[in-house]
């Protein structure tokens, strides 16, 4: 048995897996451990054979993409199952495993990448920037956001923000890690606590006004909202605090609408354009 203790990220897993594969270590012979979970009590066992196969292993690009997603997940089995997949593909003669949708290992991994992908997507959607100032030298506006992703996806999710918000300075702070953009490069720093983030932005009120006005009380579908925007996200969304009021007030608003007297049709206004439209309509029968 070999114990592989790695930092829980894709690069660390990839390096270790390459080493193992070169030494022809079989999947059931490795015990994968997360260095941040095991602490310093455990030591990597020197069970690794010295022999290294110099031949290069070819891995489908699609697998590497899958692996990056899987590594960001938190399931304890992920490193072991990924290695097993890698082994089967490269050493086990199952080259085409990647396009086998019914394979049990593949199904698990796809499930994990899907969850991670969803988390990235939700982060792109639910990060809320707050204006904190203007850089006096560059004149660029500076924004800060606090966000709590489910998985370790900050780096994966950051390039989206870089492309979208190139023209402003921004930081996204999370408990694990923070990302910063200054117009030139992305940089990362250790995580912080929520206390270091400003709590409100002057525009949050306008945004809530918009949110309230765009809602149609005649079509209440609370479940649909909650499945797309689960309540765990609500605490960092400025608009979420008015949701209970919108829901409780909706039936009254609909009743009022239904009780309103019907409005009569007003006569045609004295406007050349409207007159011309009607004249044209009366001349030639419209097509149906």
């Amino acid at each position: 048995m070999v114990r592989a203790i790695i930092e829980p990220n894709y690069a660390a897993w990839r390096d270790k897996a390459r080493e193992m594969l070169g030494a022809h270590v079989r999947p059931h012979e490795v015990d994968w451990c997360d260095a941040t979970q095991t602490g310093s009590l455990m030591m990597e066992e020197p069970g690794l054979p010295r022999f290294v196969d110099p031949s290069e292993v070819k891995v489908p690009a699609e697998f590497l993409k899958l692996a990056a997603g899987v590594c960001a997940h938190t399931d304890e089995r992920r490193f072991a199952i990924l290695y097993r997949l890698l082994f089967r593909i490269t050493r086990g003669g199952e080259r085409h495993l990647m396009d086998h949708p019914a394979d049990a290992d593949m199904t698990l991994c796809r499930g994990w990448t899907k969850a991670v992908g969803r988390d990235v997507h939700k982060m792109h959607a639910f990060v809320r920037f707050r204006l904190v100032g203007v850089n006096e030298e560059t004149g660029r506006e500076q924004f800060v956001a606090w966000y709590e992703p489910e998985f370790r996806i900050l780096r994966m999710a950051s390039s989206f923000f870089e492309k979208r918000f190139a023209g402003m300075d921004w930081s996204i702070l999370t408990p694990d890690e923070c990302a910063h953009w200054d117009g030139h490069a992305l940089s990362f720093s250790p995580g912080v606590s929520r206390l270091s983030v400003p709590d409100a932005d002057a525009h949050d009120d306008l945004w809530r006004t918009y949110y309230r006005s765009i809602f149609n009380p005649a079509r209440l579908k609370i479940q649909a909202m909650k499945s797309e925007m689960p309540m765990k996200f609500w605490k960092n969304l400025p608009e979420a605090r008015i949701i209970p009021d919108l829901i409780s007030g909706s039936s009254l608003r609909v009743e009022e609408m239904l009780e309103e007297p019907e409005r009569p049709v007003k006569p045609m206004p004295n406007n050349e354009y409207i007159k011309a439209l009607h004249a044209r309509r009366l001349q030639g029968p419209g097509e149906s």
């Binding site: 707050r130 492309k163 190139a166 023209g167 402003m168 079509r219 579908k221 479940q223 049709v265 439209l277």
Partner: protein
């Protein structure tokens, strides 16, 4: 009037327009510019309101003052609603301020018709121009156009926008004559035809430009990549066959990206000409499902709504209804059938069909394999043959089959509250797999 109050009025005035897609734009982003914004791929829903709808764009009217008298609309001239008007600068600033806070994907701008069509169009275009040219905004812009506006202005809108749209409103001119007397189907389709031509020309020009090497790609201005429309359902007496036939024509003849169906829902300031009772929400949902079958599953309108059944079954999804009317083609062998035939199996979406085709190459499929792919067996069992499964012949006969799928009364309500394919498209995609 204070900005907050204007926003309240002009967002409220825009909320009944459901055609607010934010997807399908050409790829662009803000790197190397002083502005913000990016598009490409699926639009993002930045929030959801308690009606289950996606909040993706800042959807407002420039003004809700309107000369027209469309009776389903709260802004019609006969309504006594309070009126307001944004200046173009106010909308520009709101869009940028919201965008920088990551509240939205961009702007969906429409307007009541003031003075005449061209004047109104110019105001709308001015907002887009400022966003693009003064502020280097690269986010999503969707402009509503007025079919009576000059072709030149409509095209100008197309150069600034990622998407332009004209609402068809109702499937027939007779319906329009009654409920929207200023609107004309022929003008609308003519304008759509013009937009279609321009979109196709731009695509062709772009292809050509790509073939000529060394030409900087970004130099060519980008015309809108698609148009969409909205049809109101339940405001007039049109049946689903009429609605779907019109939609089908719009997809074929005008290459629309999307037709949105909007179940008429009660509005403040109701008109004497409108039904008091709103159609059941599920009708809208069934129309979206049928629409999906037309576009991605190889069905034609007559198969979905045959002459004898001009209305969609509200209790069962349209593919299942079709299967129940065409039982003789089942059971279908998942290990042999063609892609087109697999598409017709109730409970199988295009994604799952692709998975089945891929998995077949690795060996014969058993029920357990299907289950692992995330396919719900209960629904498809009567219709398929797998390596270890042949349905009882009697299952495909008689009334029982329909009974089997009718939801229990309690559950039915739950289903009805399922969101209709919400905008933007990714939400729809997620659900369509279940069709």
């Amino acid at each position: 009037m204070e900005l907050n109050r204007k926003l309240e009025i002009l967002a409220d005035a825009a909320k009944y327009d459901a055609s607010c897609a934010s997807s399908g734009a050409a790829k662009k982003d803000s790197r190397g510019s002083t502005g913000v914004g990016s598009t490409g791929g699926m639009g993002i829903c930045h929030s959801f309101t308690p009606d289950g709808r996606c909040v993706s764009l800042l959807k407002v009217l420039l003004t809700n003052v309107c000369l027209y008298d469309c009776h389903y609309c709260i802004n019609r001239r006969s309504s006594n609603v309070q009126r307001a008007r944004f200046t173009p600068e106010e909308v520009v600033k709101l869009t940028l301020d919201f965008y920088k806070r990551n509240y939205i994907e961009g702007l969906f701008l429409s307007s009541g018709i003031v003075r005449n069509a061209d004047f109104t169009m110019e105001q709308v275009i001015e907002v887009a121009r400022q966003l693009r040219e003064v502020h280097q905004f690269r986010g999503y812009i969707h402009l509503k156009t007025i079919p009576e506006a000059s072709q030149e202005l409509i095209e100008k809108a197309g150069w600034y926008a990622d998407r332009i749209s004209i609402n068809i409103e109702l499937p027939t001119q007779a319906g329009l004559d009654k409920l929207a007397p200023e609107k004309n189907l022929k003008n609308t389709t003519q304008a759509m035809g013009g937009i279609r031509r321009r979109i196709e020309e731009t695509v062709a020009a772009k292809k050509e430009a790509q073939q000529v090497r060394n030409r900087p790609r970004a130099a060519a201005p980008v015309f809108a990549t698609g148009q969409s429309t909205q049809m109101l359902v339940g405001a007039d007496s049109s049946d689903d066959a009429l609605v779907l036939t019109r939609a089908d024509e719009l997809y074929r003849d005008y290459r629309l990206r999307r037709v949105y169906y909007s179940g008429f829902s009660p509005i403040p300031e109701p008109s004497v000409l409108l039904p008091i009772k709103a159609p059941p929400l599920v009708r809208e949902h069934r129309l979206y499902q049928a629409d999906w079958l037309l576009r991605f599953y190889g069905f034609n309108v007559r198969e979905i709504v045959p002459v004898a059944h001009p209305h969609l079954d509200l209790e069962l999804d349209p593919k299942l209804s079709w299967a129940l009317r065409n039982r003789d083609v089942f059971p279908v062998d998942v290990n042999r059938a063609s892609r087109e035939m697999l598409w017709r199996i109730p409970g199988l979406g295009t994604m799952n069909v692709a998975r089945i085709l891929a998995a077949r190459r690795h060996g014969r499929l058993h029920l357990a394999d299907l289950l692992r792919m995330g396919i719900r067996l209960k629904k498809i069992m009567p219709f398929i043959i797998a390596a270890d499964h042949v349905p009882r012949a009697s299952l495909l006969e008689g009334d029982q089959l329909r009974q089997r799928f009718l939801p229990a009364p309690k559950q039915m309500e739950l289903n009805f509250h399922n969101p209709p394919p919400a905008t933007p498209e990714d939400a729809l995609m997620a659900r369509s797999g279940q069709l």
